[in-house]
C-alpha cells in the first residue's frame, strides 16, 4: 500500500473538570479521546462507529484540528499537521473538509445557497466571481440540485436537500478527505438512502477519502471499506468491513452487532441486549474499559488494559481473550422475502424507466 492520506497516531483529547468559581480546582479529567491511532488511504472509507460518548465525533474534529489535541500526531499526505499554525493550517484545510450531522444548524440562514457554496472558495481565494459562479452551478448539479436553487435560502429546503447543500459546500474546494460526521442520522429513512447513494457516487467519481462517523452499523456496512469500533475514547477493534461482520473479535463489537433489530419479523427475539450503561469517561474503569459490561470478563481484564493487537491481516482487537472467545453466533443471512425482492426489482425498474 502506498503512503496513507491520513495517519493518526496516539491521538488524545483530555478535558479538565473544574469545580468552584474563583479558586477553581481541577477535580478530574474527561478522557474524551484517549490514544487513538488509524490510517486512511486515498479513495477509501474508514468508519468510526460507537455509541454516544465514545469519542468518535471528537476524533473527527481533532483530525481537522477544529479542536486541539492533548497528545498525538496527525499526518496528512505525509506532512505532520499537528503543529501547523495560521496560514499553513488554513491551506491544509482546503484539502480536508467536513459534512455535519445537523443540516438545520450547519447552514447560515442569512446566506443563500450560492453564497454558502461559494464561501469556502472565497476563504481560500480560489477563482474570481464569474468562475465561482460557474463552479457553484457545477456543484449543484453534482449533488442533484437544480440551478435555480442557487438563489434560495436554507429555510426553503427540506433536510435532505440541505444536506446536499452541505456536501456541495464541502466539495467546493476539491478536497481529498471529507470527514462525514453522522451525515445521515438526522434524516428520514428514504432521504437517508438518497444521501448515502450520493456520497458513494461522489466518492467513485472524485476519488474522495471519507472518515465516516456513525452509530448505525447497517449504514456503515453499506458505505465503509474498513471499520474502527470505539468505546470510551479508544478503538477496541478495527478490521475490513467483511471481516468485522463475519468474525467480530471484540465482545463489544459483538454486542453492538447483536443489538441491531433486523427489518424482518422472522428474526424477532434474536436481539440480545447488553447489560448496563456506558461508564463515565471521567472515571473509566481500570483494566479493560469494557470489563464492567463484558460477559466474558475475567480477573485479568479488571487489572490490565489490553493492547490493540493484530489478530489477522488488517484485523486488530483490544481483548486479552480475543482468540479464545466462543463463536459470535451472529447470523446475517436471510434477506428479503421472494415476493418483496421481486416487487423491489419492479420498483427499481419502473423508476429507471421514469427517469
Amino acid at each position: 500500500m502506498s503512503a496513507p492520506l491520513l495517519e493518526v497516531t496516539g491521538l488524545a483529547k483530555h478535558y479538565p473538570v473544574r469545580k468552584g468559581l474563583i479558586l477553581a480546582k481541577q477535580v478530574g479529567t474527561v478522557r474524551a479521546v484517549d490514544g487513538v491511532s488509524f490510517a486512511l488511504a486515498r479513495g477509501e472509507t474508514l468508519a468510526l462507529v460507537g455509541e454516544s460518548g465514545c469519542g468518535k465525533s471528537t476524533t473527527a474534529r481533532l483530525v481537522l484540528r477544529l479542536i486541539e489535541p492533548s497528545a498525538g500526531t496527525i499526518r496528512f499526505d505525509g506532512q505532520d499537521v499537528t503543529g501547523l499554525s495560521g496560514a499553513a493550517m488554513r491551506a491544509m484545510r482546503r484539502r480536508m473538509q467536513i459534512v455535519f450531522q445537523d443540516p438545520y444548524a450547519s447552514l447560515n440562514p442569512r446566506l443563500n445557497v450560492a453564497e454558502t457554496i461559494a464561501e469556502p472558495m472565497l476563504v481560500h481565494g480560489i477563482g474570481d466571481a464569474a468562475s465561482r459562479r460557474r463552479r457553484v452551478e457545477e456543484l449543484l448539479s453534482l449533488v442533484g440540485l437544480r440551478a435555480f436553487h442557487a438563489e434560495r435560502f436554507p429555510h426553503e429546503f427540506s433536510g435532505g436537500q440541505r444536506q446536499r447543500i452541505g456536501i456541495a459546500r464541502a466539495l467546493a474546494v476539491e478536497p481529498d478527505l471529507v470527514v462525514c460526521d453522522e451525515p445521515v442520522s438526522a434524516l428520514d429513512v428514504s432521504i437517508q438512502a438518497q444521501v448515502v447513494n450520493l456520497l458513494k457516487d461522489l466518492q467513485r467519481r472524485l476519488g474522495l477519502a471519507y472518515l465516516f462517523i456513525a452509530h448505525d452499523l447497517a449504514v456503515v456496512k453499506h458505505v465503509a471499506d474498513r471499520i474502527a469500533v470505539m468505546y470510551l475514547g479508544q478503538i477496541v477493534e478495527t478490521a475490513s468491513k467483511r471481516d468485522l461482520f463475519a468474525a467480530p473479535r471484540h465482545p463489544y463489537t459483538r454486542a453492538l452487532l447483536a443489538a441491531i433489530p433486523h427489518p424482518d419479523p422472522q428474526r424477532r427475539g434474536r436481539v440480545k441486549p447488553l447489560g448496563g450503561d456506558v461508564p463515565s469517561p471521567m472515571n473509566p474503569p481500570p483494566g479493560c474499559r469494557f470489563h464492567t459490561r463484558c460477559p466474558f470478563a475475567q480477573e485479568r481484564c479488571r487489572q490490565e488494559a489490553p493492547e490493540l493487537r493484530t489478530l489477522a491481516d488488517g484485523h486488530q482487537a483490544a481483548c486479552h481473550f480475543a482468540e479464545t472467545l466462543p463463536p459470535a453466533g451472529l447470523d446475517f443471512s436471510g434477506g428479503l422475502s421472494e415476493a418483496a425482492a421481486k416487487r423491489l426489482a419492479l420498483y427499481a425498474g419502473a423508476r429507471r424507466r421514469a427517469a
Binding site: 447513494n197 427489518p263 424482518d264 424477532r268 441486549p273 434477506g335 423508476r351
Partner: protein, 331 residues
C-alpha cells in the same frame, strides 16, 4: 384487521386539523385503526406522516391551533372524544398512558424521580398515604428493572442515563396499570444497545400485564422486532395495514416498498439503496388523488384523480393503492 374479538381500541375516521393562515390543514386525515388486546400495533412512517399527531389525538392532547375535527376513538366501546375534560383526565394514566421520544426533556429537572412518579399516582388516588405511594413507586421502579430503586427514588433526573430515564418514564406510565401504552419513538434517542434493553423490557412488561401497545416509529427494524400488526402511514393517511409478517414479506404499497428498499440491511449486499425520490409533501401542499403519486414510479393518470381507499388485497392485508400488487402490471 385480524381477530374476531372486540379490539381494545378502535379508531374510526379520525381527522385532526390545524388552523393556519392559509386555512385548515389536516395532519391526520381519515384514519381507521384498531389495536387488539394484549398485542402491539406498530405505526410506521417518516416525519410529517401524522403518526405523532395521531397518538396525541387518541390522548386528546392536541394543542391549539390543532383540534380533532372528526372521527371516533373507542376504548372498549367508549368514545374518548365525547368525554368531559375531567373524565378524560381519569382515563389518562389509568386506562391509556404515553411515553415519548425524549427521555431527557420529558422529566422535570427540579423534582426528584420519586416525586414525579408519585405525583401521577396521587392524582388518581388522592387518599393514599405518603409511605404507601413511596412503596408503590419503588415497586414501579423495580418492575422496569432499575437497580437500587430506593436510591433512584431520591435522585434527580440529571443523574440518570438516557436509558434509565426512559425506564423511569415507563415506570410512570405503567404506575396505574393502563390497558394501553402509546410509545412514541421510545428508543429513537437511545443508543442501540440501550434500545435493545428497552424493547426487551417493553415486551416483558406486556407479557406480565397483558397491556396493548401502540408503537410509533420510523425504524423498520424496531417494528419488525415488536409489532404484531403494522400500519404504514404517509402524509396523514394509512396506506397499508396488515399483520407484521405480511407487511415485511409481502409488501403491497409502493411506499412500503420504497421504505424497505431504503434501509441498508445487514443480511444483504446491495451496491445502491433503492431510496424514494423527492420528499414528503408538506401538509399545506398535498397533491390531489393518491398523496404518494408524485414520488411513485408506478403512478398513472387515475392515481391523480381520487384518493384510493384502503382495500383488501389479500385476506387481512389492505393497501390504499390502485396499482397493487405491482407484479400484475408487468404482465
Amino acid at each position: 384487521m385480524t381477530g374476531t374479538a372486540e379490539p381494545l381500541l378502535r379508531i374510526e375516521g379520525l381527522r385532526t386539523v390545524f388552523r393556519t393562515h392559509g386555512g385548515e390543514i389536516a395532519a391526520v386525515d381519515g384514519v381507521d385503526l384498531s389495536v387488539p388486546r394484549g398485542r402491539t400495533l406498530g405505526i410506521v412512517g417518516e416525519s410529517g406522516c401524522g403518526k405523532s399527531v395521531l397518538s396525541l389525538s387518541v390522548m386528546r392532547l392536541v394543542a391549539h391551533p390543532g383540534r380533532v375535527a372528526a372521527g371516533r376513538v373507542l376504548l372498549e366501546g367508549r368514545d374518548l372524544l365525547q368525554l368531559s375534560a375531567a373524565e378524560m383526565r381519569d382515563v389518562r394514566g389509568s386506562q391509556v398512558a404515553m411515553i415519548f421520544q425524549e427521555p431527557m426533556t420529558s422529566l422535570n429537572p427540579v423534582h426528584t424521580v420519586g416525586f414525579q412518579i408519585t405525583e401521577a399516582m396521587r392524582a388518581h388516588d388522592p387518599r393514599a398515604s405518603r409511605a404507601e405511594l413511596r412503596d408503590r413507586a419503588i415497586e414501579a421502579l423495580k418492575r422496569v428493572r432499575i437497580p437500587a430503586p430506593e436510591r433512584r427514588f431520591e435522585e434527580y433526573p440529571h443523574l440518570l442515563s438516557g436509558g434509565m430515564r426512559q425506564r423511569v418514564m415507563i415506570a410512570m406510565a405503567l404506575a396505574c396499570r393502563p390497558k394501553l401504552l402509546i410509545a412514541d419513538e421510545p428508543t429513537t434517542a437511545l443508543d442501540v444497545t440501550v434500545q435493545a434493553q428497552i424493547l426487551d423490557l417493553l415486551r416483558d412488561l406486556q407479557q406480565e400485564t397483558g397491556m396493548s401497545i401502540i408503537l410509533i416509529t420510523h425504524d423498520l427494524g424496531v417494528v419488525a422486532e415488536m409489532a404484531d400488526e403494522v400500519a404504514v402511514m404517509y402524509a396523514g393517511r394509512v396506506v397499508e395495514r396488515a399483520a407484521a409478517g405480511a407487511v415485511f414479506d409481502d409488501p403491497m404499497h409502493p411506499y412500503t416498498l420504497g421504505l424497505l428498499g431504503s434501509v441498508p440491511r445487514l443480511d444483504e449486499e446491495r451496491e445502491t439503496l433503492l431510496a424514494i425520490e423527492g420528499s414528503v409533501p408538506p401538509p399545506f401542499a398535498l397533491p390531489r388523488g393518491c398523496r404518494f403519486h408524485p414520488r411513485c414510479p408506478f403512478a398513472v393518470e387515475d392515481c391523480k384523480a381520487e384518493p384510493p381507499p384502503l382495500r383488501a388485497i389479500a385476506p387481512g392485508h389492505e393497501a390504499a393503492c390502485l396499482r397493487a400488487p405491482v407484479e400484475r402490471l408487468a404482465a
